[in-house]
C-alpha cells in the first residue's frame, strides 16, 4: 500500500491530467512523487508579460502534512522572476510555503498563489538582502527561516 503522500500526489496528478491546469500553468514533468516541475506565466497585463518561469516542487514523505519545497528553476538558462519576494537563486519567500501551509492547499493551489503573487507585483526588484541570502542559502528553501512581513505579497 502506497504511502499517504504518494496516494495524495497520485490523486492530484490524476486531477491535473484529467481536468487540466489553470491558465498560464503547465505541467512540465511529474515522473515520480519526489519532484514535479511546472511552467508558470502571468496572463494579462503585468510586469512579467511574455516571461515564462519554471517551478520546481519537491515533496517529502510527510506531504501534505509537511509543505512542499517550492522554488523557481535557475539552471539550464532559466531564471527566477525579478520580484521583491523571489531571490535570484529561485527561492521564494511566501508564507503559504512556510508557516501558513495547510494540507488543504495543493500543488495547483500553490501555483495559483504564486501566479497571483507575480501578477500583483508593482516593481521588479530583488529582495533587499538578496546577495547576502544567496551566498549562504541552503539547497532546500524549507531550511530557511524566512521572516514573512505582514501584508506584502
Amino acid at each position: 500500500m502506497a504511502s499517504i503522500s504518494a496516494r495524495r500526489l497520485a490523486k492530484e496528478l490524476h486531477e491535473i491530467q484529467t481536468e487540466g491546469c489553470p491558465v498560464g500553468i503547465n505541467l512540465l514533468q511529474a515522473d515520480d512523487f519526489a519532484a514535479w516541475q511546472f511552467t508558470i506565466e502571468v496572463m494579462g497585463e503585468s510586469l512579467y508579460q511574455g516571461e515564462v518561469f519554471t517551478l520546481l516542487f519537491r515533496f517529502d514523505k510527510h506531504y501534505p502534512i509537511s509543505s512542499p519545497a517550492v522554488q523557481f528553476v535557475v539552471t539550464d538558462g532559466k531564471t527566477s522572476p525579478v520580484h521583491p519576494h523571489v531571490y535570484s537563486n529561485g527561492h521564494i519567500c511566501a508564507s503559504i510555503l512556510g508557516n501558513e501551509w495547510s494540507p488543504v492547499l495543493s500543488v495547483i493551489a500553490v501555483c495559483l498563489t504564486l501566479q497571483s503573487m507575480l501578477a500583483s507585483c508593482k516593481k521588479k526588484e530583488r529582495p533587499p538582502d538578496n546577495d547576502r541570502y544567496v551566498r549562504h542559502a541552503p539547497d532546500n528553501p524549507k531550511k530557511t527561516q524566512f521572516h514573512y512581513d505582514g501584508n506584502s505579497p
Binding site: I4, R7, R8, K11, E12, H62, P64, I65, S66, N99, E100, S102, P103, V104, L105
Partner: protein, 461 residues
Amino acid sequence: MSDYVPSIQDLRVKLCYICREEELFDKPEIPPRIWIHPCKCALVAHEACLLKWIQTAQATSAEAGERAMTCPQCRTPYEIESRNPRLLRILSWCSRQLPTLGRVCLWTGFAGFLVSMQAGIYVLLTGYGAHAIQQFFGQEMYDFVLTDDPSNWPIMAYIQLPLIPISLVVSRYAHVSPIMPTIIACFSLMPRGIFALIHHNNYANNIRIESSLWPPSPYAFACVILPTTNAIYRACFARLSYKILGTRDPTEYEDNLRFVFNADDEQRDQEGERPPAPAEEQAVEPNLPAVVPAPPANGDAVGQQLADITIEIKSPSRIGRRIGGALLLPTIANRMGSLLLMLSKHSLYMRKFLGVRPPWQSQVPFPVAWLKTNAQGKPVVPWGLVLRAFWGGVSPWAELDPVWWRNSIGFGIFIVAKDCMKLLYRWLVKREKETRRVKDRPFSEVDVSNLDLIKAGDGQA
C-alpha cells in the same frame, strides 16, 4: 423535517481535505475510519489525519500550532477534548519552565563550580598548612595540637593553616625571615593547648613547672632569637661576601620585588653575577689583570650600567622557583632536623643543645600549669612563672620533644650552607672572569708577503 441538520454520517461522499481519500457511503472502508466535520464550512477529514496535522504543526512552532487549530478555510477554531487532568496541566507548565530551569541550573552550576574551585584551593592550602606543621613541629606536637582529624582542630586552625603557604611564599618577597610565619601560625594553634591546660588544672591542682630553660620556647625563639640571629647573620654574611667578591651581596637587591618580566632571565641567571655599583667599580678595576686592555673593561662597565637599570627584573621561572622553594621549607627543615637528630646520637652535647627528649609516654593528661591558687583559694598570677613560661614554654612545648627546635637549627644550617655555596659559585665565576687571557699566536700559516710588515729602513726614515 425543517430542523433536520445533517451530520458527517449523512454525506454520500466524504473527502478528507488532508489525505484526499474518498469514501462512499455505500462502500465503507474496512476497517472503518473515523470521519469528522470540525468546523462551519464543508471541509471534512479523517480524525486521524487532522490530529496528526495539528500535532505536527504544534511541534513545529507555537504559531503554526495555533493556526492548525483553526479551519484553513473558515477559520473556525477546532475544539479538541482530551484527558487533560490538572496533573498534566501542572506537568506541562513545569515542562515549559524547563528552559528557565536550565538557565538557572547553568548559572548555579557555574557559580558552584567557581565556589567549589575556591573551596578546593582552600582545602589545598589548609592541607599544606597541616603538612607544614607536621613536618616542622614533628608528629608528636602535630598529634597534640592538630591531629589528623580536622574535626579536632581549633577554629583558628581553619584560618591559620591556609595562611601558612601564603605567608611562606610572601615571606620570600619581603624582608621577613621565612620561618617567622610558621612560628606565628603556631601561636594561633595554642588555644587548644591552653584549653587543655586549664581543663586539666581543674582537677590536677598540684603545680609542676616542668619547663626547662633549654631549648627556648617557640615564642622566645620567634620573637627574640630568630630576628636577632637573622639580623646578625645577614650583616656578617654581607661583610664576608663583600670581602670575597669585592661587591655587595646581590641577593640584597633581589629582595625588592618588582613584577617586571624579562625574557632573557636564563642568560642572566647563568651569569649569576650582579654588576657592582659604579662606585665599587673603581675599587675593583685596579685588581684586573694588567694584560687585559682597558676597552673590554669599559664595555663591561657599560653593560653593567645598563644591567643596573633592570637589576630587579623577575621572571616567571624565578617566581616559580621562589614559590617552590618557599613551600619546600617545612620539608627541608624536617630533613635537616632528622639529620641533626641522627648525628646527635653520637654526641651528648649535641643532644643537650637540641633538647632531644624521649617520646612522651605519660598516661595522665598534662599536669603542668602556671595558674597558682593562694591560701584563700584565689588564683594568683605568678609573673615570674609567666616570664619563665614565655622563655621555657608551657605544657605541650615544654613536655614534648622539641622537633621544631632542631628543625629550625637544621634549616638555619641549610640556609648558611646554601648561602656559602652561592658565595663560592660567585667567587669562582668572578675568578674565572678575572683570570681570562687571550692566547698569542705567530703568523706561521700566513703568506708573509701579504703582510704590511715593518721594514728595516722605517726606523731610520
